[in-house]
């Protein structure tokens, strides 16, 4: 039987050899995000100057999806304005809800590889953890959807 494709080399590389998993000197926004039920726990640190994310990093423990997703997110948002970062996070959440166009998916670059997690509701919270923490840092309260 074919294994599911979510654990592609790009995803596992971000988990095993993350680029952004370290302390961040000069961070001026720090927030911890937790999934209590499974123990995913990340602390996101950003250095924001004039509404631009000049640098970012995370530390924490958790499943490969939660960690890789945070690493990929930082790849994407470092160098972007707060507005752009928020827009990307919104696209990511839309992708998880399977409400995204192909063009929008392209904007998400490697994060788009997590698209299929939408089919596994028990894992979507892993993929979303870093992104919702980022949104909370920028003052956007994460709303859990009730079905």
């Amino acid at each position: 039987m074919e294994n599911k494709t979510i654990y592609t080399e790009i995803i596992t590389d971000h988990n095993v050899d993350p680029y952004h998993k370290h302390e961040l000197e000069g961070a001026n926004l720090i927030l911890e995000g937790v999934n209590p039920s499974c123990g995913d726990d990340i602390t996101l640190s950003l250095k924001v100057e004039d509404d631009v994310v000049v640098d970012g990093a995370y530390q924490g423990v958790g499943c490969a999806i939660s960690q890789a997703s945070a690493d990929i997110m930082l790849d994407l948002v470092i160098g972007k304005t707060k507005e752009q970062a928020l827009r990307l996070s919104e696209l990511f959440l839309n992708m998880i809800r399977s409400e995204i166009t192909d063009d929008e998916l392209e904007e998400l670059e490697e994060a788009g590889l997590l698209k299929d997690i939408a089919h596994n509701p028990s894992r979507t919270k892993c993929a979303v953890l870093g992104w919702r923490t980022l949104r909370e840092m920028f003052g956007v309260e994460f709303e859990y959807e009730e079905e």
Binding site: M1, E2, N3, K4, I6, Y7, E9, T12, D13, N15, V16, S37, C38, G39, D40, G62, C63, A64, I65, N120, S122, R123, C126
Partner: protein
């Protein structure tokens, strides 16, 4: 697969060669005889039992009471009235907590709960302790999940009103010496409630021999449908306990000022009961008796040994609990270095191996033994070596899939 196994597997329509179902501690699969018995009941005998005068209602009542008798014999209770039907083990424990606990546990009393407990045998006692200003004391296990009777002897006092302990841990699979625990509890004037959710389906449980005051278990973990469970209680205790839920069926007579209540066990079975579930549970007991508990124990032990022996040879994998496969009761909880259990279960699931990941509703235990989240495979007698082979093959690839080389 030998002929015996091929026939055995045919009894379970949901099983096939596309996947290995190894989440039996969560819920068991159902044999055709159970499915057919439930269907037959709804096709031929369904009516509201206990109150109806007409034939169908009488027939439904007979089936319900016949199921009660089968449960009584299965766990060797001394009276049929000591078998209360509930929804599941959780409801059974809550019944004791709300009825016995709230009435007979007083301020300053102690409640002893083992750290091995599933949340369902822990939270009701936290609640009673809080409501009654009683002291909750935990009975801790060692790193292999072992609690010795001497550990209880040290903790218990004459202020202890109740001891709540599981017979088999749903995480570690180890058996507690319930008979010894019951003796110690009684010597100190305490009652003992045993959680049999993981033991009753997998070993001979004799409440008279164990001398427990209460035993809680679920039907759905022992081949029966979901929604039917059992509370065994000694009749002298059940008789003095107030009702848990109030309403229809459980009364003797009602006036605008109050009511007198039915005798046990009906006193504890308010509302229309789950006859279809009870019929399914009786069919499940018949199925187990037919293949024999000895055969179930033998098959589950052999499969567990076959699995654990191979797991020991996999690098970076740790099996939690005893080194002796016969001390696992089919429950194999494990860790793979660097790999989160949700990734492990996801990868295994993709390869057709169904296992559980997370904290297994026993967060305090997992914290105590230093493995906050784990993966658990759990075996039933209808599993075969091919299931274990598929599981072992899948395990060997987990680290590679996650990018850790071998």
């Amino acid at each position: 697969m030998n002929d015996y196994e091929l026939n055995l597997r045919k009894d379970f329509p949901i099983l096939n060669d596309d996947y290995a179902y190894l989440d039996n501690a969560a819920t068991s699969q159902k044999p055709l005889s159970v499915i057919n018995a439930v269907e037959e009941y709804y096709r031929t005998s369904n009516a509201n039992p206990l109150r109806g005068i007409y034939d169908l209602s009488v027939s439904a009542t007979e089936k319900y009471e016949s199921a009660r008798l089968s449960v009584k014999k299965f766990i060797n209770a001394s009276k049929k009235a000591e078998i209360v039907f509930t929804r599941n083990a959780t409801e059974s424990v809550n019944l004791v907590a709300y009825s016995y606990g709230m009435s007979f546990i007083n301020e300053g009393d102690e409640i002893i709960v083992s750290i091995l407990e599933h949340h369902s045998n822990m939270l009701p006692w936290q609640n009673v302790a809080k409501a009654k200003n009683a002291t909750l004391k935990y009975l801790y296990c060692d790193e292999n999940g072992v609690i010795n009777p001497s550990d209880l002897e040290e903790l218990i006092t004459d202020k202890t009103a109740l001891v709540a302990i599981t017979q088999v841990s749903n995480v570690i699979g180890r058996t507690n010496d319930i008979k010894a625990f019951a003796k110690i509890a009684h010597e100190h004037g305490a009652v003992i409630l045993c959680d049999g959710a993981q033991s009753v389906p997998h070993m001979k449980v004799d409440v008279t021999d164990l001398d427990v005051d209460f035993l809680a278990f679920s039907g759905h973990k022992m081949l029966a449908p979901m929604g039917i469970g059992v509370l065994y209680g000694k009749s002298e205790l059940l008789k003095k306990m107030p009702p848990f839920l109030y309403g229809g069926e459980m009364i003797e007579s009602v006036t605008v000022d109050g009511a007198t209540f039915a005798r046990i066990p009906t006193k504890f079975e308010a509302g229309t009961v789950n006859v279809g579930g009870a019929v399914g549970l009786e069919a499940a007991i018949n199925y187990i008796n037919n293949i024999t508990m000895d055969e179930i124990v033998k098959r589950e032990n052999e499969l567990t040994e076959y699995a654990i022996n191979q797991m020991r040879d996999i690098n970076h994998l740790t099996v939690i609990g005893s080194d002796d496969p016969y001390n696992h009761h089919g429950i194999i909880t494990f860790d793979i270095d660097d790999c989160h259990p949700h990734d492990v279960a996801d990868i295994l699931g993709g390869l057709g191996v169904d296992v559980r990941a997370g904290h297994h509703c026993a967060q305090p235990l997992l914290k105590h033994i230093g493995h906050p989240v784990t993966t658990r495979a759990s075996i039933a007698f209808y599993n075969v070596r091919e299931d274990i082979d598929r599981f072992i093959d899948a395990l060997k690839g987990v680290r590679r899939t996650l990018g850790y080389g071998e």
